[in-house]
Point group: C2
Chain length 209, copies 2
């Protein structure tokens, strides 16, 4: 759902997107490609490796519990030097709702990904809002905040550019990739706030005096 929302919006904005899946003949990815291709840029489907090979920017929008495997399948060589936007959350639903995190506190999924692919330029972003708000922030009226965290300043600048294309106006750089711990550990509060507010479409605005 997150991958399709991001890919569709990127194609609408004129970008060329290859939607990757475990299986290069994945039905949903092929269907997405045939639908989205009419709207702007070029849309195609392929394996995780095809997608990583294609992109200047690679988006990890896989399930957090499967992300390390998916990126291993994409291949270290294909990811080297690329901007890798990690949108995933390491949510473990095996114990029911609310989920726990499969990694947290002294580590994060984004850091695990960066360690597994040291030549990729990992930027944590967009994991703090749902798919709809990621690509249409204007659907929540008023100012609200999206975050980036990563060790590579140039990679963060590329991501800030894409976020700006999506319509984000308040983008807060939290520093190095270690700040992904906070962005992922925000999930339980986010889930509680969603339940309390009765909608998935919530976000926060960071204020100071």
């Amino acid at each position: 759902m997150v991958g399709q929302a991001l890919a569709t919006r990127l194609v609408e904005l004129g970008h060329d997107v290859v939607m990757g899946a475990r299986d290069a003949t994945n039905d949903k990815a092929a269907q997405w490609a045939s639908t989205a291709g009419a709207t702007g840029g070029r849309a195609a489907a392929g394996s995780f490796a095809d997608a990583a090979d294609h992109g200047e920017v690679v988006v990890n929008a896989t399930s957090g519990m499967a992300s390390l495997d998916a990126l291993a399948a994409a291949g270290d060589a294909a990811l080297a030097g690329k901007v890798l936007i990690d949108v995933a959350n390491p949510l473990d639903f095996s114990g029911g709702f609310p989920p726990s995190l499969s990694v947290c506190n002294t580590d994060s999924l984004a850091e695990q990904i960066q360690r597994a692919h040291p030549d990729a330029r990992v930027v944590k972003a967009l994991n703090t809002v749902n798919a709809d708000i990621m690509v249409h922030p204007e659907r929540i009226p008023g100012a609200h905040t999206i975050f980036v965290a990563g060790d590579d300043a140039d990679a963060k600048a590329v991501v800030v550019g894409l976020l700006t294309e999506f319509g984000w106006r308040e983008i807060l750089d939290l520093g190095g990739i270690q700040a992904a711990r906070g962005l992922e550990m925000y999930l339980p509060l986010w889930l509680s706030m969603m339940t309390a507010q009765g909608t998935y479409n919530i976000n926060i605005h960071v204020l100071k005096p």
Copy 2:
């Protein structure tokens, strides 16, 4: 610092406060009592047990790593039936900055406190802003949000009343005490945002369409 900020503000608002410490003759607590007593209600100092014995409402503003010991010293009998506002964060600074959490993900300090004192009516609140903003939310201009979580609706209503006296206007009830996990796990993001914004005085406003 948090305890003194809350106690001072409560006395200013006309409440009678006993500041508890491990040692009933604690110098800082005695000094606070002699200074704060002039401003409104009655201010006194004593042991943790004296404080818990005194209050209709008990505030845990001890260091998160020491909270269970402090509340054990306060005594289960003194806490029974009381509204117990847990303001503490289980921050472990033993590994330096940024701190990790000593409990998180599948449990929280507030839940540990509720289990240790089943007859207390624990409400997690105020742990998401610094001491100054807790009692003077107007120091951040514009609308911003404070949270409550707890299993006892009447206890939460008492806490909402006190928060309203402090000046809070947007108070979001997140449900049962398990939601304290999210409120405590928000800390790493909060610390990153403080660093990025260059001030301790930050808070978030929760928005929806």
